[in-house]
Amino acid sequence: MTLWRRHFLSVALALVGAALMMPVVDAGAASWRATIDGEARIGFTATQTGQPIEGRFERFQTEIAFEPDDLAASRAEVAIDMASARTGDPQKDAALPLPEWFDVANHPEARFLVRSFRRLDDDRFEATAKLTIRGATRDVVLPFTFTREGDRGRVVGALTIDRTDFGVGQGPWASDQWIAHPVTISIDLPAERHPPP
């Protein structure tokens, strides 16, 4: 008897078992990915002597596979091109890349790497992540809502950081007298459902 014929039954059983299991594994394995288009937005709000400064990052990349019903398998990583910060004020836009602020020459990218997701409610979640700006990494929690309509979804969230935790604003700018320490980072990312690979 050849090896094949001797083990034929066990192989056949294994295949049938796998075939029976497939639908179970299939259901819910589709995940949500962020679509990078004109609508995707990562913005920031700072405060200059009481006045808000609104800005956004025009270039960023996301690697997100989010499954609300399988958070353990979900993952998200965002890389932000720090040279793409725009506030609408050329004066500020010229200052942000400088060593006193983002120091783009030495730290061209900021990274947001999710370690775990937590569900709070039907469409309210929390992402615990490591945020790296200007070479400094801190643990942060990003609360967000994930809403969906058919195959389209939307992730909206915001978190507030202390910019001095990351060294953003050096020398005289480290004082909160001119630019406040808290800075809010907000995300608004459209998402679409992707079939399993």
Binding site: Q48, T49, Q51, D89, P90, Q91, A94, A95, L98, P99, E100, G171, P172, W173, Q177, W178
Partner: protein
């Protein structure tokens, strides 16, 4: 002298007196003088006001940027003016002036050139050496690079402070010079009743005319 009459017999405007004559300043010198004068008065006012506003306020920040933008404009215009001045003799001072009056007039005018160029330069240097490292955006549009070396010093603070004192002192000197200059112009016009003021004012003799006949 032969007199010929043109068909119309009237004066023709053939343009403006661009260059100085031996009687008055031409349009170029005049235009530069009053334009720069207006800007300088504005700059002195801005300088006095802006440092007294709420530190770090948006208004103060915006006025500082305006001050820098106009300052570089004055620098550019003054350099043009200096070149024009060196290439165009000015009308001679009126006769009958005392030696001290002549010296004072010359000193005031030289002093103005020194300040018109030195004030913006010292401001530019101060901004370049500043620990704040704020980019200079001229009228919010074009970035003026920092003066090299100053922007990369290891210990900027004392250099920035020294340049700030120089810039402010020069500002006060400009105010004093301005008062002296105006007083002198008024003295010539009201007391001496000569044409020193009027030859730097717009007038009909700025329009070049050719009469219907030739002289």
């Amino acid at each position: 002298m032969a007199w010929k009459t043109s068909p119309s017999g009237e004066d023709r405007n053939v343009g403006l007196v661009w260059r100085n004559t031996d009687r008055r300043y031409g349009v170029v010198a005049l235009g530069l003088h009053w334009l720069i004068a207006l800007l300088i008065i504005g700059m002195l006012a801005l300088g006095l006001v802006m440092v007294r506003l709420t530190p770090g306020s948006t208004l103060q920040f915006d006025l500082y940027q305006l001050h820098k933008s106009i300052g570089i404009t004055v620098l550019a215009l003054s350099l043009v003016r200096l070149v024009w001045r060196l290439r165009n003799p000015v009308p001679p001072l009126p006769g009958g002036l005392q030696r001290w009056e002549i010296a004072l007039a010359r000193l005031t005018h030289v002093g103005f050139y020194v300040l018109m160029i030195g004030l913006p330069l010292s401001g530019w240097m101060m901004v370049s050496a500043s620990v704040w490292n704020l980019p200079t955006m001229l009228f919010g549009v074009i970035e003026l690079p920092h003066v090299p070396v100053l922007s990369t010093l290891d210990n900027k603070k004392p250099v920035e402070d020294a340049l700030k004192r120089i810039h402010e002192a020069a500002g006060w000197a400009a105010m004093a010079l301005l008062a002296l200059h105006v007083a002198g112009a008024l003295k010539h016009h009201l007391l001496l009743k000569d044409d020193v003021l009027t030859r730097m004012l717009p007038g009909r003799d700025l329009i070049a005319r050719r009469r219907g006949h030739e002289r």
